[in-house]
Symmetry: C2
Subunit: 436 residues, 2 copies
């Protein structure tokens, strides 16, 4: 979450938070009475006898928030929101009734530049979390709609796309059968839709093929052009080509989306599904105001990502956010320990002082379990000489430093860790190259 | 909240989060049936017919969390928690039914070093938020108990301290009358308690006076010694003396506290009350396990602080977390705009690309409203010369930079802002010195 916040901020996305409790009529505006979500709602009467419920996603509160504060927000408006949502589902592995969502949206512009930025944010999020091998798969609903149009299947569109969305999961035969059954199309028509989704090739090859196929279909060509611009801009902005793939099978089940759609897969853990998905929509605020407000955004699947990071061993073993521990050698020197700790903190390095003058062995045991990177130690000898011992807890080495040099020496140790990580990455690259 | 997280992390406090919904029996364990909070609870039956409620503070969930995960957490354990709590109070100015709490606690040690660290965290939090003139007022319940003991008023202690807690608000006469009425003490006894609370002087003077007064009273002297050690360590660690005051009137109303108690006041806005309060407690987990777990912690009053920062004009006028805007001069150069933006972000500087190739005037209007600090602009001339115009939006100056120098030039502009802030602070110090 800290990493995600940092990436969002670096792109100028502002954090918002809204109350967990909303009036039920707000949450269920425009939701069908029979919809699954109405049964999953945590709903009750508050002390003032108002019908309230806990939010079930962050999109409805965003729509309410933007409708209410439209005049003061100013457009375009970029926000991220990390917050809990509640759904009374039957619990199953990896599913919770209260879980954290992480949404980011670029609202108030139709420009494809916003769609491109969402792809860039997804890329930088994944990279910042430590993932190396992932693929952002992107499509555009305008292309899919152009296809349906050319096959005369506009009316059956929503049903067909809901089925197509299951292609990776249930396979082409099952999708075909479902399309015949649910949308009432012929086997030939179903296979026509599936065939386009199965187009493979480099981004440029797919785009060239689409441009040819949809010549004269203005709406579809707009979609192709937007995908083309996204491909070029990501390339120029330095996103490795293998991390971005135009994929005509990506359609997202929801009727909601009208343009770009995104899914993000981990190459080494494809079974867990998309870890970051979203798309462009025409009208965020339609349920509350007459003003149509377009936007584009995505949602980071925190629970899935955490599971994946655990599986891929990307989670740091440390359980302290501070890398440096000042050991407490003698209780009467606490003022000196806190003084040097504040000096270290002022240089931007987290630093903790052990609270008791226990045996050093016990303090180092604590340091090891918590995953500290370095320890500062001073006893009578060091105080006499105005020196500090600095222990590198990973390499199990020790140096002696004058007090004014403590920060510099700690920085060297902490940077060395980054250097080691770089060396590791280089090795991975070498291996990857060798296996090609 | 970002600033608070940064300070907590710098001291090695780990973030935790717990579900907003808990079983009602967990939340109300050891709460009296008639207690106000039972009426304020947002309580209902969930889909599984379990009696659940939204948490009303972050302390009870912490106690439940630590009891449940004691064996894996390891002690000492330092955590912070930023989260919403719910209380069905009648709404009034500055009071919400759903509001954010910010707690930090140092658990599992009796060492006074932990109490001292909490005071240091409070200091660094307030300073990092931009406050210059504030006072952390600290007392120790052991001293107050020593006083009550010496007056033979142990049994009436809780009632007397609840009244004493109102001294600043309702004045000595009203406190005296309440003590006589509620605790059944004589006017003389009441005034004896109030007199100690009214002791003023430098920290060293108060401590010397206490040491003399409580000679032979071991418990009270322990409290005096702890306050003395805190005074000395804060001084050595570099906390300005005027920001820390031993204050015998601070007692906190709750029975819960057993040692150090803290309140924090803004010198220029004393009427809003304490913005950060807390204390030491003997037994966090008593309601759930037999194991007694001591700790010390405090709570930052976010709503009050925000109101104060608004009043004292400490809130930045910017509404973008990114200081740099790349203007979009021509749409076909989007790849170059995002490329340079990623370069700036990689250097740790937040950077946003305007999504549409609107007239520059409109883009600068957006930049001004959002409070960007600098803008990067490149049109045909600049691309031909591989240059970027950098506009300082605060000083309204402009320079031309080669691309490799863009980050360095932006850093100069952003650091200049820091320099200006330092100049402002210096002026404030000069004024403060002059008014002495």
């Amino acid at each position: 979450m800290e990493t995600a916040r940092r990436v969002f901020r670096s792109y100028g996305f502002a954090p918002i938070d809204t109350p967990a409790l909303e009036l039920t009529e707000i949450l269920l505006a425009k939701v069908d009475d029979g919809a699954e979500i109405t049964k999953q709602l945590y709903r009750f009467k508050d002390a003032g006898d108002r019908d309230v419920a806990l939010r079930f996603d962050l999109t409805v509160p965003l729509a309410r928030f933007v409708s209410q504060h439209f005049s003061t927000l100013g457009m375009p408006f970029k926000r991220y929101h990390l917050g809990s949502v509640w759904r009374g589902e039957s619990p199953q592995a990896g599913r919770y009734r209260e879980f954290m969502q992480c949404d980011f949206d670029f609202i108030g512009t139709l420009a494809n530049a916003a769609d491109i930025e969402i792809a860039l944010v997804i890329h930088d999020l994944m990279a910042a979390l430590g993932f190396e091998r992932f693929t952002i798969r992107v499509n555009n609903r305008l292309v899919l709609n152009g296809l349906l149009d050319s096959l005369g299947l506009n009316a059956q569109g929503p049903s067909l796309l809901r089925s197509l969305d299951k292609l990776a999961k249930i396979g082409r035969e099952n999708v075909r059968d479902e399309m015949i059954r649910e949308a009432g199309v012929t086997a030939e028509q179903a296979l026509g839709v599936i065939a386009l989704a199965e187009t493979t090739g480099s981004n440029d090859a797919i785009l060239a093929q689409l441009a040819e196929r949809f010549a004269g279909n203005a709406a579809a060509l707009k979609g192709v052009a937007n995908l083309g611009e996204m491909t070029r801009v990501l390339r120029q902005a330095g996103v490795p080509e293998e991390r971005f793939q135009v994929d005509l099978a990506i359609c997202r089940g929801l009727d909601y989306y009208t343009g770009t759609v995104y899914e993000t897969f981990l190459n080494d853990l494809s079974t867990i599904g998309s870890v970051c998905s979203g798309g462009r929509y025409d009208n965020l605020t339609g349920r509350y105001t007459k003003q149509a407000l377009p936007g584009v955004g995505a949602s980071l699947g925190l629970d899935r990502l955490l599971a994946a990071m655990e599986e891929l061993k990307l989670l740091p073993k440390t359980s302290t956010p501070a890398p440096v521990l000042v050991a407490q050698f003698s209780a009467e020197r606490l003022g000196d320990y806190q003084r040097v700790a504040r000096m270290v903190r002022a240089a931007g390095i987290g630093c903790e002082v052990y609270p008791e003058a226990k045996k050093l062995g016990a303090q180092f045991q604590y340091a090891e379990r918590r995953g500290f990177r370095a320890a500062l130690i001073a006893g009578p000898d060091e105080f006499l000489a105005s020196q500090w011992k600095i222990k590198d807890l990973a390499l199990r080495t020790e140096i002696v430093s004058t007090e004014p040099k403590v920060v510099e020496n700690l920085q060297t140790i902490l940077n060395a860790e980054i250097l080691n990580a770089e060396i590791r990455n280089t090795n991975v690259e070498i291996r990857n190259n060798e296996s090609k």
